[in-house]
């Protein structure tokens, strides 16, 4: 009996940290994926909105469609800030929008500078870098990672 009781303690001492670590990993990775999904939506919808910024004067002068670079860039940053406001873990959405990488591609065919995706029409390409703070994995020293999310949208209404 004494011998059996000792084995249980041994199991408890050895397995509990492992179980806790697995649990923390599961929780934080799920949270990370959820955050990445939120950011993806935010960037994606910002580029889609900005892809309506048609350069109307150029269209009348050439008959060709292209984006207004200044207007499309401003629209992207504006809607990035709006979409990131209220997202958990983004304390300063204005700063994230202001520092986002935004490229307006009017010369096509071309490649998205951030994702290397093929572009056959004028497009808005955007990329943000946001820090993500782990909830449980911080116990083992893994506190913050940087998430990079990119999206592009071609000209549309």
């Amino acid at each position: 009996m004494i011998r059996s009781r000792g084995q249980s303690v041994l199991y408890a001492v050895l397995l509990m940290p492992t179980l806790i670590l697995v649990f923390a990993l599961a929780v934080d990775m799920t949270s990370l994926q959820m955050q990445k999904l939120r950011l993806r939506y935010a960037v994606d919808l910002a580029t889609v909105t900005a892809a309506t910024a048609v350069d109307e004067r150029y269209y009348s002068q050439t008959g060709r469609l292209r984006l207004d670079p200044a207007l499309a860039t401003a629209t992207t940053r504006d809607f990035l800030m709006r979409n990131l406001t209220g997202v958990p873990g983004i304390p300063e959405p204005a700063q994230v929008a202001a520092t986002a990488d935004v490229s307006i591609i009017n010369q096509t065919p071309a490649a998205d500078p951030y994702t290397r995706a093929y572009l056959d029409r004028p497009a808005v390409c955007a990329r943000i870098r946001v820090p993500y703070r782990f909830l449980l994995l911080g116990w083992i020293g893994l506190r913050v990672v940087e998430m990079t999310v990119a999206a592009s949208a071609e000209i549309r209404t």
Binding site: T47, S60, G63, A151, T157
Partner: protein
């Protein structure tokens, strides 16, 4: 010279086509009982020349009382040469009237009158070779107005149906006469009206007072030779001056009228065959998202991009490939100038909202916007780009170099590429 003899002489001098239109004679009872006769012969001519002859005569030579004669009138007069000369009148003479008792001039110039001023109306510009001084008394004085009318048609040979110009220019020569007792002058004259017979049955009358030339456009519709005739109707006044024994002038003013005509041959050649080659043109469009912005562009396009799902306004322009051309007898005679007057959408209805987009089949004026919308390819499914051909009929008017105007309907089209990339990522 007697009036009747003058007129007869004039008729003889003119020969054919001359008619004696009017002869007037007026008598005036002189101060001494003598008879002064003024006669005017207006001789119209229709072969380019006419004249008016005016004559004043006095059979007694009693006016004025010459210096040193036995007339014991209280005054006497004499011609005095004046120290004034000009290129147009190198000899000027004036009648000075004196009081016989005091030998003082009684018709001196007004004190403040600028020179030359002789105080009377008896200042005369005589011929440098025939002065009134020292000449024997003459029985009459005469004046003559010669009128010449030249008629031309230009061009000399014009194509039937084209515009010719009938021109008439009236020139004149004036002869005035005076002597110690009498003067005769054509005081004034002017054309009162013109009559034009173009020779093809058409007539015209022009009332242009004082004009001595006319130019009238006319179109001979058929080939042939035409005798274009122009007659000028002229009215005026002749004035005779008779001096009585006191040196006082008596004016006798008489009206006259005369006609002068002439003609020219106008040749109208066979009307040339004219063909009007229609312009070759096609549609160009300038696209706008929504309403036009900024200054209108001068460049129009045959192919444009279309923004899927957006109402697009299109300014319809005329792109000339080759202007309309005038051919006369098969030879090029210049290009015309074409412009767009309207257009009509001939295609199927677009995806534009009802009441906003352009409806096919209706005619529109130039300057109205063509409003179309394309919703395919589907914005959810995405897919390949889709090309549309938009047929449009253009209504074009062309003005050719001979001002002939024709209107044409030209079927044309432009193309639109619409695509939509659904993916983003």
């Amino acid at each position: 010279m007697k009036p009747a003899a003058t007129a007869a002489k004039a008729v003889a001098a003119l020969g054919l086509g001359v008619a004696l239109v009017a002869t007037g004679a007026t008598d005036s009872q002189g101060a001494s009982g003598s008879v002064t006769t003024v006669s005017i012969a207006s001789v119209s001519g229709y072969e380019g020349h006419a004249f008016v002859y005016a004559q004043v005569s006095n059979s007694t030579f009693a006016f004025p009382a010459p210096t040193g004669t036995g007339h014991q009138s209280p005054f006497f007069s004499e011609w005095v040469a004046q120290p004034i000369a000009s290129p147009t009148c190198p000899w000027i003479w004036a009648v000075y009237v004196f009081d016989r008792a005091t030998n003082r001039q009684i018709n001196t110039p007004p004190p403040n009158s600028p020179p030359p001023n002789f105080g009377t109306t008896t200042v005369l510009c005589a011929s440098p070779t025939a002065t009134p001084v020292g000449q024997p008394p003459q029985a009459d004085a005469a004046a003559r107005l010669d009128l010449d009318l030249q008629v031309t048609v230009s061009p000399v040979v014009a194509a039937a149906g084209s515009t010719s110009r009938v021109s008439a220019v009236l020139s004149n020569a004036l002869t005035q006469d005076l002597n110690l007792y009498l003067s005769m002058a054509i005081q004034d004259w002017a054309v009162t009206s013109w009559s034009i017979d173009f020779g093809d049955g058409q007539m015209a009358t022009i009332n242009t007072p004082a004009a001595t030339s006319i130019q009238v456009p006319h179109v001979y519709q058929a080939a042939g030779l035409y005798d274009a005739r122009v007659v000028a109707f002229i009215s005026g006044h002749a004035q005779a001056a008779v001096y009585d024994r006191y040196g006082t002038v008596h004016l006798l003013r008489r009206p006259f009228s005369v006609e002068v005509g002439s003609h020219a041959v106008a040749t109208a050649s066979v009307r040339p065959s004219r063909s009007y080659m229609p312009p070759q043109a096609q549609i160009g469009v300038v696209p706008y998202i929504g309403l036009p912005i900024g200054a209108p562009t001068t460049t129009a396009f045959r192919h444009i991009d279309g923004l899927r799902g957006a109402l697009t306004s299109l300014s319809v322009q005329l792109l000339i490939l080759r202007e309309g051309e005038l051919l006369i007898n098969g030879a090029p005679r210049g290009f015309g100038q074409s412009w767009l007057t309207g257009w009509r959408l001939d295609g199927a209805p677009s995806d534009a909202p009802r009441g906003v987009g352009t409806v096919p089949g209706a005619s529109h004026r130039a300057g109205e916007l063509l409003r179309l919308q394309w919703n395919a390819p589907n914005h959810i499914l995405g897919g390949q780009a889709r090309d549309y051909v938009v047929p449009v009929t253009l209504f074009v008017t062309t003005r050719f170099p001979d001002n002939h105007v024709d209107s044409y309907s030209i079927a044309s089209s432009f193309s639109v590429s619409v695509n939509f990339a659904a993916e983003s990522g």
